[in-house]
């Protein structure tokens, strides 16, 4: 460790001040404010607030729409995480084998990464639109009366597909670099030891990709829980009606559309705890992550 040589002991803190103030103003203060208001009941016009203790939380968990949203969020996250990882892994393994035109192929697969979530969602709803969307048209031709925005299941289907499509390139890049980090000679040794390529994948390649996979798992859970907000908002056009939403979107709906700041804050606090658990889990994992030479 290098010891600092400042004359005044306060000087280092002065240097830290800009960074600290950004963190405090934009992260800690709003978080503290959310925790505070989760214990208050605020009138819709924001003139007065009353301390209600844990009433907001009690009210929240007892409401059937919250429980339904939580259930949908779990299903949504599991499906989005699983399929964006699985499809990306499949594509990465395929891309790793490509010898000719490899860079073109990889670039094409990564392209979607550069699209902002709301734009991705816009492209998505054009594809899934009940009247003009080619995908919806295809489903209707198959006899599935696909109705985006009116049928609960159909809307959820579009949200899930768009969310997966948006996340696959990110996972693809990580998986591909993970695959390319596996020494070629190890793959060759395995080729001599094991005749079946499927078996080789599950016994050699897949375990060696596990560190990348764990990391991506956390990233993808976080993505499906929080970062899909933009996609959901665009698909629902801001008007959820009867359609399913995720917990994060419900925070926004209850707080800004429903003007229930206390209830919305209580929901945010629950989400904060969820993020905290995920973060601890992630750090534990990274610490314990196997280091291969």
């Amino acid at each position: 460790m290098i010891k600092s040589q400042f004359k005044s002991p306060l000087f280092p803190y002065l240097l830290l001040l800009p960074q600290l103030s950004i963190v405090v103003i934009f992260f800690y203060w709003p978080a503290a404010e959310a925790i505070r208001s989760s214990f208050y009941l605020e009138d819709p016009f924001g003139f007065s607030s009353t301390f209600v203790g844990l009433d907001n939380f009690r009210d929240m968990v007892s409401r059937s729409d919250y429980v339904a949203t939580a259930e949908f969020t779990i299903i949504f996250s599991v499906i989005v995480t699983f399929f964006s990882l699985a499809i990306a892994l499949l594509l990465a393994v395929t891309a790793d084998r490509v010898l000719r035109g490899a860079s073109t192929y990889k670039t094409l697969l990564m392209w979607v990464y550069a699209i902002a979530p709301p734009v991705a969602a816009l492209i998505g709803i054009m594809m899934f639109d009940t009247l003009v969307g080619p995908i919806a048209g295809f489903f209707q031709a198959l006899g599935w009366n696909y109705q985006l925005g009116t049928n609960r299941f159909d809307t959820a289907f579009a949200m899930i597909v768009i969310s997966i499509w948006k996340q696959v390139p990110v996972n693809f890049i990580f998986f591909l670099s993970g695959l390319q980090g596996i020494p070629k000679s190890v793959q060759e040794a395995a080729a001599i030891d094991c005749a079946s390529s499927t078996r080789r994948f599950w016994t050699i390649t897949f375990p060696l990709l596990a560190p990348t996979g764990f990391f991506l798992l956390i990233i993808n859970i976080t993505y499906s829980l929080f970062d899909t907000f933009g996609i959901i908002d665009v698909v629902l056009k801001g008007e959820p009606g009867n359609n399913p939403v995720t917990l994060v979107y419900k925070v926004f709906l209850d707080g800004f559309r429903g003007n229930d700041l206390g209830g919305s804050s209580a929901q945010s606090v629950i989400l904060m705890i969820l993020v905290l658990i995920l973060t601890v889990f992630q750090f534990r994992l990274i610490e314990r992550r196997v280091h291969y030479n």
Partner: protein, 353 residues
Amino acid sequence: MAKVVIDNVRKVYPNGTEALSPSSLSIEDGEFIVLVGPSGCGKSTLLRMIAGLEDITEGTISIGERVVNALDPAERDIAMVFQNYALYPHMSVYKNMAYGLKNRGMPKADIDAAVQKAAKLLHIEEFLARKPSQLSGGQRQRVAMGRAIVRDPALFLFDEPLSNLDAKLRNQMRIEIRKLQRELGVTSIYVTHDQIEAMTMADRIAVLNTGKIEQIGTPAQIYHTPASIFVASFMGAPPMNILDGHYNGNGGLEIKDLGHVAVDHTLEVTGDIQVGIRPENVEIHQAEEPHTIPIKVDFLEELGAGRLLHTTIGNTPFIAHLDNEHQINGETVFAHLPARALHLFDASTGRRV
């Protein structure tokens, strides 16, 4: 245990470069063959084609009585030891060794017996539960050997397995690999760029240069009757001295800057030739004698077991090996090149004449 026949095998990469021109080599059952040559000579390509890791452009390779061209690496009944060992980093030493057997559907008890036996042979019993990352380079090397041995293959392939070890360990492993191979009697092909490994380990050596096999022979044959200038200068440390010369028939051999040397046999070619002599065959005298030429001593290199005398003849560096008893006084000595020790090569083709 098997005979390996490499019949006119050629390798051309998709970009058109020819890594190996049509080459043939027949390896006897239980023989230890070393493929040696500078990097890029095609020795690893040939080994990888035998292993099935590279396609064979032309020709056939057979192991035992089977032509293996179309077989997958796992079906060829071979085991390979890689330069960087290529151990599976997520598996314990035991599992590394058992992996190949498990995939062949061998019963658990038999696998255990085979692994324990190989571990005992290689003195790695106490490491069986460890991961490769917890082992030293030498231990990893042993595990890689163990993984090859448990397979009980028809053919061992070694791809520069010792080049990542330090000099002392390398000497030790060299002897151990050779001993092990003798005990097991498995046909082995060993690739190296180190001519000392080639000389000390091989039953027969194949010297490769720019995609061609220059010479196949026992270490003694390769050393004492090199087939070309390339083999003569590649095999042996310090390398053979090569001087320009001219042969005008009837035993008249002129060496540039040195003068006339009598040769007792007549050569088939006349004209420009190259003359090679191993440093240990040069005779150094303190005083002038018949058929000696004066040379200036540039410096002496102490080897402990002897000394190397460095000089230049014309513009060509020249080395002579001296025994310890041999005293050198003064800056000029007299060298004699015995005619029986000279190697003569055609100056245009580089082949021995």
